[in-house]
């Protein structure tokens, strides 16, 4: 099972919409996909019309490892399951801080499901905490949505600084531009200049589009209700790029 996580220290950059759309596209392509909504706000869970509740909350997950398997819910889309968010996820750090090797707890929880799915996508909350350290340890790649603005880019520098101090050899950073509005000069300038500064920024940018906002109204991924829209196509390109880079490295011949 490959593990991807959408992550950014900053909120409102498009983590949830990326996680939801990528999970939908992966499942549509035949990958047995699991989406874990780790954000206590539960936006991804809401998108799939599932109740944001895990029996016994995070404490139960710590007590009984199989509780996570029991929490899995099927979505309305073939091949895509979800672990719903729970408000108790906000106390992840408190619950797991006293355990042995606290940064490895998330991965431990996932062991029983490793053979059931081809791909796990985690939608994380915006912070840098024990929960995020757990995500860094478990994930194969971190998808970092960047709005082409100074503040957003600044948080990316902070993330790079973090990994400079605490290097993680297995983890790949895959930043990409999100909510890109090409009518704004600053967006254009950053999209043009930043890839020269950092290697590894993905080629696909997700445009700022009302279709993405409509996900909350339609309660479905863009790929489902507007597959031919600009953003629907952009997410498809993004998925293909990520799939070829990380998920299935055999897509070369």
């Amino acid at each position: 099972m490959k593990i991807l996580a959408t992550y950014n220290i900053k909120g409102g950059v498009g983590k949830t919409s990326t996680a939801v759309n990528l999970a939908y596209l992966a499942a549509a392509e035949g990958y047995r996909t699991l989406l874990w909504d780790l954000d206590p706000q539960g936006a991804a869970t809401f998108c799939f019309r599932i109740k944001p509740k895990i029996k016994g909350g995070i404490k139960n997950l710590k007590r009984r490892r199989s509780a996570l398997t029991d929490a899995v819910k099927a979505t309305d889309f073939e091949g895509l399951d979800l672990i719903p968010s729970d408000f108790s996820f906000r106390s992840f750090d408190q619950v797991f801080s006293d355990t042995k090797k606290p940064a490895r707890q998330l991965l431990k929880l996932l062991f029983p499901m490793a053979r059931e799915y081809d791909l796990l996508i985690m939608d994380s909350a915006p912070s840098i905490s024990l929960a995020s350290e757990n995500i860094f340890y478990a994930a194969d790649a971190l998808l970092v949505p960047l709005i082409p603005t100074t503040f957003s880019v600044r948080t990316y520098y902070q993330l790079l600084d973090y990994f400079r101090k605490k290097p993680s050899s297995h983890l790949r950073l895959l930043p990409f531009f999100s909510m890109y509005d090409n009518r704004r000069p600053l967006h254009r300038q950053i999209v043009h200049s930043l890839p020269k500064e950092f290697q590894g920024i993905l080629n696909t940018s997700i445009p700022y589009a009302k279709r993405v906002e409509m996900m909350g109204v339609e309660r479905a991924p863009v790929g489902h209700f507007a597959p031919q829209s600009k953003s629907g196509k952009a997410y498809r390109r993004l998925w293909q790029e990520i799939r070829d880079k990380v998920v299935d490295e055999r897509h070369f011949y």
Binding site: E29, G30, R32, R49, K73, A74, E78, G79, F252, Y253
Partner: protein, 528 residues
């Protein structure tokens, strides 16, 4: 994702409205307009998935193929996939989990649409207060398209209930409603079996390996012509599929039958009239010359995952030109083979061959061995092949080149063909150790032969690309890595050779074989 599937018979007398009223007691169901779908059951030509106790069902919907793989007996779902193209090989399943499981059952065989149905399906979704789906109920009215006919045959109707993971309670309630007071009956056999019966398909008969019933006292000529005729039928049965490149296994079976035919022609000059068969034998060799390279290319193409695993990411991209080169080669060779196997020469060969095999034998015109009992002839031949194998194997020194191993490989293969063919004439328990030792050696020689062929093919590719000035440094580097890798694997396989050969060469084995081959002859002589 539905976790399981449960199938029920839908009584023909039950009106859809009544069925819905059973369901919609106090629950909300959303109805999807009833639609006509094409439903296909995919399997290999020899029904590997069915034999493995599974059913692979495909529904064509909105330009996508929805695949459901379930167990034959319980209907338990093993996998669900949505694909843009109908998969032909296990590798085309994209997602690694399912790909691996299907590959274990079908190997390199391709999937063919075995049964096609027209299906009118009503879908009902049970929804919760958030309009989230909790389960799906489908009523399917299938019609079977009769081949070469415009008519449809109506099949029994079914109800499929798809529970969703995490919503077991809803599922239990619905099942209770449907089965209460004997309303619906669960199916005892999968709908595929009913469809198979209606299409008069019997997968049990489709064995790729022929089974012969031989009696030891039968005249050798009669037995051999009977065997050869079976191989002829296999060739006839597979030639069309091989020409159309529907499945590599058609070519495989065609080729094996052709090779075994030639082996028998060569090995029994005392039984078969060599002069009469001279031209036929030459024509068989001519036909095989076109078919063999394609089989090799099929194997290279199926090896790409292994090649890829030997290269790092930068070098992997250079596999594309190699893949295209091999594909182009295959297209050219396929065309040549098709031309040859559809030619008048091939047609005449098969007609003449059939005439020869089906004519009544005139023993006075046949070699003296034609009337000898088959057991005696087979025993002599097995003994001779065993000695030849030992002789060739012992002659191999440490410096022996691949062509010397190839000679042994060919003899060993002939030995295995004969062992397989005549095993029933001898005591199977006593023959087993020899057959095992022979098979072990054969596997090793097969591996050596394949690795050597791959090594040469990679070299040839490099030379061709250089001649055509189409090389890039990274391609050459990749090819060098792969060539070295094949050479290394060859050396690794070679290390096992002496052990395996020693097992076959054991004095005990020689004595056992001698006793086994002479056993009944001697007893029969004593009786007389």
């Amino acid at each position: 994702m539905p976790a399981d599937q449960f199938i029920y018979h839908l009584p023909a007398t039950l009106a859809p409205r009544e069925f819905r009223s059973w369901l919609e007691d106090d629950q909300v169901f959303e109805t999807e307009q009833s639609k006509d779908f094409t439903r296909i059951y995919l399997d290999t030509f020899d029904w590997r998935l069915y034999r493995g106790g599974t059913v692979l069902e495909v529904i064509l919907e909105k330009g996508h193929y929805l695949l459901t793989w379930r167990t034959l007996r319980t209907g338990k779902i093993l996998g669900h996939r949505t694909l843009k193209v109908l998969p032909r090989f296990a590798a085309e399943f994209i997602a690694p989990g399912l790909q691996q499981q299907i590959r274990e059952l079908i190997g390199r065989r391709s999937l063919l649409p075995q049964i096609s149905l027209k299906s009118n399906t009503d879908k009902l979704y049970l929804l919760d207060s958030e309009e989230k789906q909790l389960l799906r109920v489908e009523t399917r009215y299938d019609r079977l398209l009769v081949p070469n006919c415009t008519n449809y045959r109506v099949l029994p109707a079914y109800v499929y209930v798809f529970p969703y993971r995490g919503y077991r309670e809803a599922f239990d309630t619905v099942i209770q409603k449907l089965t209460a007071r004997g309303r619906l009956r669960a199916v005892t056999s999968d709908p595929l079996i009913t469809a198979m019966e209606c299409s008069e398909l019997t997968p049990e008969d489709n064995h790729s390996k022929p089974v012969f019933e031989l009696s030891p006292g039968e005249p050798a000529f009669e037995v051999l012509t009977k065997v050869l005729n079976t191989f002829r039928v296999i060739m006839e049965k597979n030639v069309h599929g091989a020409c159309k490149a529907e499945d590599p296994e058609y070519l495989h079976d065609f080729l094996i039958a052709a090779r075994r035919t030639q082996c028998i022609m060569d090995r029994y000059p005392d039984v078969l009239p060599r002069d009469q068969l001279k031209l036929i034998r030459q024509d068989f060799e001519w036909a095989e010359k076109f078919a063999s390279p394609i089989r090799d290319l099929d194997i290279y193409l199926s090896l790409f995952d292994e090649f890829a695993s030997r290269l790092d990411k930068t070098h992997r991209s250079s596999l594309r030109p190699l893949y295209e080169y091999l594909r182009n080669q295959k297209t050219t060779q396929q065309w040549q083979m098709r031309t040859a196997l559809e030619s008048t020469r091939y047609r005449r060969l098969m007609e003449g061959w059939k005439r020869f095999l089906e004519q009544k034998p005139v023993y006075s015109r046949l070699p003296p061995g034609a009337t000898r009992p088959i057991r005696a002839v087979a025993a002599k031949e097995l003994g001779a092949l065993y000695s030849e194998t030992l002789e060739l194997g012992q002659a191999l020194t440490k410096e022996a080149n691949p062509s010397e191993y190839f000679q042994l490989h060919q003899t060993c293969k002939q030995f295995s063909y004969q062992l397989e063919l005549f095993q029933d004439l001898f005591n199977p328990k006593k023959l087993a150790p020899l057959a095992r030792a022979q098979m072990d050696l054969q596997d090793n020689l097969n591996e050596l032969h394949d690795l050597n062929l791959q090594h040469d093919a990679l070299r040839e590719f490099c030379t061709t690309m250089q001649q055509e000035h189409r090389t890039m440094p990274v391609w050459l580097e990749s090819m060098d890595i792969l060539i070295d890798d094949r050479a290394r694997e060859y050396r690794k396989a070679l290390k096992h050779f002496s052990n395996r050969f020693a097992k076959l060469k054991k004095k005990k084995m020689q004595k056992q074989l001698q006793a086994l081959l002479n056993d009944r002859e001697r007893k029969r002589g004593e009786k007389k």
